[in-house]
Structures are given as structure tokens and as C-alpha cells.
Amino acid sequence: MAKIQLNGKKISIRSNLSILDLLKKYKLHDRKVAIEHNGSIVAKSNYNKKFLKNKDRVEIVHFIGGG
């Protein structure tokens, strides 16, 4: 188990989860999103190469209405 902060909320995940696994867990893998992992942007091609560990911070953002 690992505890990470996802979009400001603390959640528990199983160890060795990749960013892609995390997106699949929330059914967001087909959505137009961008990801920041510990302050750095993760390129789409690295989603399955980046693994999450304890105390990591992840931000998943998308486009919303705005002026």
C-alpha cells in the first residue's frame, strides 16, 4: 500500500501502481487530461513508465468552461 495525494485529497493505492493504472482506476484513461507528478508534467508516453510511491503528489486536470 502507498498513500498519495491526488488532486489535494489523500488516498491509498496499492504499491507499484503506474500513472496509467491510476487513470484506469478512475476511468480517466480515455479522457483529455494532463498530469502533474510531484510538480513535473508527465508526458502521455510515460504514463505506463511512471510508478507511484508513498507521499507522491498527483494532479489530474482537464479543460472546463472559463472566460
Binding site: N7, I41, H62, G67
Partner: protein
């Protein structure tokens, strides 16, 4: 007649009206208003996705990015750091480099922090972004932004969401006369007549959000703005008559009985 082309950096647009997608009741209303406005570019914000409510509809289900250019903005950012973070994420997400920068300086007035704005523009241009920059109506600062590589200058008419229209027509005119990149009035427009005035002054385009979204009938208002912008642009191209301080009869004097 020469074709009247509106181009920002490498993006060609059919409409000179750009609309925001905030403050609508729901996405259906947003999509209908965008369609009625005739805009082919809309601004969007970047925010955290709701991870707990998976069924919640999302904007891009209603606005097809293949048909409409989404212009990511940095609304709500009060520092260069936040604005850079937002736009870098936006570029990764969308895959395009045309963005709108706004760095706000004050929560009450939402006026831009020009020191941070100039600094951020420089960085973004260096990173290969095409930056449309929200700014005050100061002609010298507007020129500076252009010198630093801004792809469009977006001066305010009055504060964001105020609907107060033009407060300094002369400054906007000076910005237009000095600029080689498109000038798009970005904030404060309250009614279609303000948009017409912007276009008559020679602005290349206008960006409207609140004035459409906060109208009693947003979809009808979107259509009104579409017509207003076309009308103002045609008037600018036609060249208005000279102002006179005395009357000049419209009917011939000769042959009066």
C-alpha cells in the same frame, strides 16, 4: 475586394468574435450559445478533474476541439508560477501552443498584474508558446508585450465581468495604431454596441463571456454579438464619415421651392 482574414499566430479564424465558456447554466446552453455566436475559437480554463463523480459531464463532450479552437487561459492565476504551471499542463493536454495568458493582480478589480504578465510572456515565448496576452490599456506596455513576442494584445475595456464597456477609447485606439499583431478587446464589454464600437475603432476582434452568459437569454444575446461584431468590422472597413461640428444638409439646396 481583398479577403478579410483574421489570423492569430498560425491560426486562421472565420469569426472575429471569440467567446468564453464560463458562467453558463450548463454545457447545453454553452454549446448553443457558442453556435449562435458563430465563434470558432472559445476560451477554456484548466482545473482539477472531479475524481469522485465519474458521471459528471465534461465540456469537451459538448464542444468538439476538432471544429472549435480551444484557447486555454490562466483565469484565476495571480502569479507567474501559477500561470506557467497552468499553461504547460494545457499544452500537454491539448497538444497546441496557442494560449491566453492572464495574471491577475487584485481579487476585487481583477485587473492584470502587468509586472508578472510581462515576465511570464517572455518565458512562454521562449518555451515556444504562442501567447495572447490580457493586459491593461496602457499603450506603452502593450507595445512592450508585442516586442517580447506576444501573438496578440488583449487590452481590457473595463474590469472582467463588469460590463462597463469602454472607459478609455483613446488608449485602445493608440494600442491599435501601434500594434502589428492583432488587438482583441478582452474584458468589460457589456452590450453588443460596445463590441461594435471596438470593431469600429479598428480592433481585430473581441472576446466576450459575461455579456452573453449573464444575459436573460444568452443564446439570443450570442446572436446579437455575432451581428454586432460583423457590423462593426464592416463599418471599419468601409471607413466612417468625417465628424463635423456644424450641420450639413442631406438634401440638395438647388431647386428648393
Amino acid at each position: 475586394m481583398k479577403k478579410d482574414i483574421f489570423k492569430i499566430a498560425n491560426t486562421k479564424l472565420r469569426s472575429r468574435l471569440i467567446v468564453g465558456t464560463g458562467k453558463y447554466k450548463n454545457f447545453v446552453e454553452t454549446a448553443k450559445a457558442v453556435q449562435a455566436s458563430g465563434a470558432d475559437m472559445v476560451t477554456v480554463a484548466v482545473r482539477r478533474i472531479n475524481i469522485t463523480d465519474k458521471k459528471k459531464p465534461i465540456l469537451t463532450d459538448f464542444l468538439n476541439p476538432k471544429k472549435i479552437t480551444l484557447l486555454p487561459n490562466t483565469a484565476g492565476c495571480f502569479s507567474s508560477f501559477e500561470a506557467l504551471r497552468t499553461l504547460r499542463l494545457a499544452r500537454e493536454m491539448g497538444g497546441w501552443k496557442l494560449v491566453k495568458l492572464e495574471v491577475l493582480g487584485d481579487k476585487k478589480t481583477l485587473l492584470p498584474n502587468m509586472i508578472e504578465t510581462v515576465k511570464t510572456t517572455k518565458i512562454l515565448v521562449k518555451e515556444g508558446f504562442e501567447v495572447m496576452v490580457y493586459c491593461t490599456d496602457d499603450p506603452l506596455l502593450a507595445k512592450k508585450l508585442e516586442d517580447y513576442g506576444a501573438s496578440a494584445i488583449m487590452p481590457l475595456a473595463s474590469p472582467i465581468g463588469s460590463g462597463l464597456g469602454f472607459q478609455n477609447k483613446m488608449n485602445i485606439t493608440l494600442i491599435i495604431k501601434n500594434a502589428k499583431v492583432p488587438v482583441i478587446v478582452d474584458a468589460g464589454i457589456g452590450a453588443p454596441s460596445d463590441a461594435t464600437l471596438a470593431m469600429e475603432l479598428g480592433c481585430d476582434g473581441v472576446l466576450i463571456n459575461s455579456a452573453i452568459a449573464k444575459a436573460n437569454k444568452p443564446i439570443l444575446m450570442a446572436k446579437a454579438f455575432k451581428d454586432a461584431v460583423i457590423s462593426g468590422r464592416n463599418a471599419f472597413l468601409a471607413g466612417r464619415m468625417k465628424k463635423n461640428y456644424f450641420g450639413s444638409p442631406s438634401s440638395p439646396i438647388k431647386g428648393l421651392i
